[in-house]
Amino acid sequence: MGRITLDKVVKRFGDVEVIPPLDLTIEDGEFTVFVGPSGCGKSTLLRLIAGLEDVTDGQIRIDGNDATDIPPAKRGLAMVFQSYALYPHMSVRKNIAFPMRMAGIPEDEQKRRIDAAAKALNLTDYLERRPGQLSGGQRQRVAIGRAIVREPAAFLFDEPLSNLDAALRVGMRMEISELHAKLKTTMIYVTHDQVEAMTMADKIVVLRAGYVEQVGSPLELYRAPRNVFVAGFIGSPKMNLIDGAEAAKHDCKTIGVRPEHIAISDSDGQWTGRVGVSEHLGSDTFFHIHDTGLAETITVRADGEVGFRHGDTVYLTPREDSIHRFDEQGLRIA
């Protein structure tokens, strides 16, 4: 009911190849997240799937049928935009009804679906309001409502949370996750926030400059990043990447250790350095350690409250079993 296949899809804007030939399959019912740095082509890819852009070459199939030349409205997909893209002059009800009105669905059926969606999204009390009278989170819910009523084969989300403030974001994130758990419809979700990617995805697609760097479940990516780029991109704070002599000891070009996998001590350890900025969050403390001779800064996470001061000399020990090794090409060495 919602299997999307991209077959050698290419997209060029003028002379610029934004998406080089790309193959990708999104299984029915999967929650797939596209992540990657800004400008890597996440939105473009999503819009190609939606039909809002023409593919330059290749084929897009939805449930096995060629959809490449089908106009967006006919693909049976629903999209939730970053700016919500609500119709400001229509009430919430009208907004949600719009796609059904366009499809010529009978009034009473429309009403039934609107009521169901409103109930599911906690919007029942706001149906007569205009989008302008809603908070950011509520608007986002209306946008989702508008998508739901079409009963699409798949949902496409383009950074739907990036306009919300931090607290709301966490809430909406969970709501979307719950929605997926309930509807079990295919969802494709674009974000550049890796926390979102990690917490929501069944499958993450990491993109860089239009290329797929790695596809896998969040924990696969965390545990076994295929290359230096993915290693640095997934995980917060970033993995420490160390070149040179220390890496050579491990028979590779680069080694990577996550901040949470380094123990810090005032007495002894494998590496030494001086404490720079330390960030105390109460629950954790992040130390930025300078002058280790390994990399400009090594970030270390300590649980709870640990009392090193700016300038203290400290000793660091990486957990051996959590060291990632990469070769000259930056590829993981298993």
Partner: protein, 276 residues
């Protein structure tokens, strides 16, 4: 976040702003006052300001002489018609320019604007001949078309700037929701741009209303609007100040009232969307 001004400062500003406002408005005010005077009071030395015997006589004289309502009606039809016609032509064009910009979009826009620089007198004779050929002389439809063409660049430009403020995502959302191009423009774009369209409408009604070259030269009796009405008062009546004032007041009152009632929209319109 602006800081609250001190009452003293606010008082001074108030005084200054009102003085300037009244000074600028004074010619209109004076005309209106004079229209209620007798001819003798109108040229009294020293001038009388408010304390005179108010009379409506001038208005009845003017009305008797020329059938004001007919001119007014023509003005309304021509100004309104040309604006609406213009908007119908301009909305699709502005949609295309704003949402499907091409390499030459900006050039086309500037070219359109440059057609406004054609000196009307230079092409009057050809236009006159064309109008004779097509039997459009002294018809409302002919004038409506001409004024539509005269103002079309401005309409396109204004709509373009308003449309550009509308995020393309909303139109894409409509497309995803299954709207055809027509439905997209009709149900989503146009209603969203209502404030912009309203101000475009208003500004162009004003421009068309006050257009005094084509309206005068291409009409005689049937289609003559208020600009022609006032043209019959411009000389001997120059010395009948009160009657001149009455006629002037009658010519500008409708648009003045319209402008005042809708000044919020209009101010937006006047900025040509060029300044946020």
């Amino acid at each position: 976040m602006a800081r609250a001004a001190s009452p003293r400062r606010k008082a001074i500003t108030t005084l200054a702003a009102w003085s300037v406002g009244l000074l600028i408005f004074f010619p209109i005010l004076w005309t209106m006052l004079t229209s209620f005077k007798t001819e003798a009071t109108a040229i009294a030395d020293p001038p009388v300001f408010l304390f005179f015997d108010w009379t409506l006589e001038n208005y009845s004289v003017v009305q008797e002489r020329s059938d004001y309502m007919r001119f007014l009606w023509n003005s309304i039809i021509i100004a309104g018609g040309s604006t609406i016609l213009g908007i119908i032509v301009a909305v699709p064009a502005a949609w295309a320019m704003a949402f499907v910009p091409g390499r030459r979009t900006k050039d086309i826009l500037l070219w359109m604007l440059s057609t406004k620089m054609l000196p009307a007198v230079g092409v009057l004779y050809p236009m006159y001949l064309i109008f004779i050929q097509m039997g459009l002389l002294d018809t409302r439809i002919g004038l409506t078309i001409v004024l539509m063409l005269v103002n079309l660049p401005i309409i396109v430009w204004m709509l373009y700037t308003y449309f550009k403020e509308i995020p393309g995502e909303i139109l894409e959302a409509a497309r995803m929701d299954g709207a055809t191009l027509k439905e997209e423009i009709l149900y989503v774009l146009t209603p969203m741009a209502i404030p912009g369209i309203a101000s475009t409408l208003l500004l162009n009604v004003i421009l068309a209303w006050n257009e005094a070259f084509w309206t005068l030269n291409l009409t005689a009796a049937k289609a003559a609007p208020l600009t022609a009405f006032i043209a019959s008062y411009s000389s001997p009546e120059g010395l009948f100040y009160a009657k001149l004032s009455a006629a002037s007041t009658m010519a500008i009152a409708p648009i003045l009232i319209l402008g005042w009632f809708s000044q919020k929209q209009l101010v937006r319109g006047l900025t040509f969307g060029a300044v946020k």
